[in-house]
Amino acid sequence: MVQYSDARLDASFAALSDATRRGVLERLGRADASITDLAEAFHLTLTGMRKHVGVLEQADLVTTRKVGRVRTCTLGPRRLEDETAWIERQRRLWDERFDELERIVGERRRKEQIDGRTKRA
C-alpha cells in the first residue's frame, strides 16, 4: 500500500516537475480544453502537447475523452483528494474568521452592557 502510494507520488511529482504541465493543470482547472486548444495556448506542436498530456494522464492528474475527432482534457480523479484538502483549508479560513467575529461580538456586548447601565442610571 505504502509502495503503491509512493509510486503514485513519484508519478505526480514527475508530472508536476514541468512548468508547461503545471500550466496545463492550471488552465484545465478553469475549463476543459482540447489538445489543439492547449497546444495553441502553450505554443507547442500537437505531438508535443500530446506527450505532456500523456504524462499527466499517467499520474491521474488529467483524463481525456475523444468525441469525434476532438480529444478533450479534464482534470483527473486526483481531484478527489484535492477536495478534502480544499474543504480543510476553507474550514481553517472560516475558523480564523469566526475567532475574530467572536472577539468583535464580545466587544459589542460589553459596550451594550455599559450603555444599558448608563441609561438606567
Binding site: 481531484r79 480544499w86 476553507q90 472560516w94 469566526f98
Partner: protein, 171 residues
C-alpha cells in the same frame, strides 16, 4: 478554571465544521459566544464586517465594503489580492430577517449565482451560526474546488522552482 476557560478548553477541537453536504451544497457551522442580535449586526454593518471578514493570515486587503442590507439591496466587496490585482464580490440580498436569517446571492462567477443562507440561532447567550452555500450545479461547485486546489498546487510548485533557482544561483 473558570467557566469561560473550561468552555474554551472543551471546544477548541473542531469548533468550526465544514462539509460538502451534497453535490451542490457546502455547510459551515460554528457557535459564537454572544447573542444573535449582535452577531447579526456584525454580519450586516459594513464597518463591523470589514474588521473580521479577512483573516489576519490571508495576505489580502478589503479595499471597500458597500452593503445595502434590505431585500433586493446589493452589496459589493472589493479586495486587493496582490499589488496589481483587485477582485470584486457582489450580489443581492434575497432575505433579511434580523436577528435570525440572512440570504444573499454571489453573482461574480461565470455561472448562475451561488445562494448563501446564514442562520443565527440563539441559545443561552450563545449563537449557533450555519452558513449554507447552494451552487447552481454539481459542475459549478466541482470547478470552484478544482480551480482553487489546482491553483494552490501550481503556486506552491512555482515557489519551489524559484527557490531552486535561487539556491542554484547561490552555490
Amino acid at each position: 478554571m473558570d467557566a469561560r476557560s473550561a468552555r474554551e478548553a472543551t471546544s477548541t477541537q473542531e469548533r468550526t465544521t465544514m462539509d460538502r453536504t451534497s453535490e451542490r451544497e457546502l455547510v459551515v457551522t460554528r457557535t459564537i459566544d454572544g447573542p444573535a442580535h449582535i452577531v447579526f449586526e456584525a454580519w450586516t454593518d459594513p464597518e463591523l464586517l470589514r474588521r473580521w471578514w479577512v483573516p489576519k493570515s490571508v495576505p489580502i486587503t478589503l479595499l471597500s465594503c458597500e452593503m445595502d442590507v434590505r431585500v433586493g439591496g446589493t452589496y459589493r466587496l472589493v479586495f486587493q489580492v496582490d499589488p496589481t490585482t483587485t477582485m470584486a464580490f457582489f450580489g443581492r440580498y434575497l432575505e433579511v430577517s434580523p436577528p435570525s436569517r440572512l440570504v444573499w446571492t454571489n453573482e461574480e462567477g461565470e455561472d448562475d449565482a451561488v445562494v448563501t443562507t446564514v442562520t443565527f440561532d440563539e441559545d443561552q447567550g450563545r449563537t449557533r451560526l450555519v452558513v449554507h452555500d447552494l451552487y447552481p450545479s454539481k459542475d459549478a461547485l466541482d470547478s470552484a474546488i478544482a480551480s482553487e486546489s489546482t491553483a494552490g498546487w501550481v503556486e506552491m510548485l512555482d515557489q519551489l522552482d524559484e527557490l531552486l533557482l535561487e539556491l542554484r544561483a547561490g552555490s
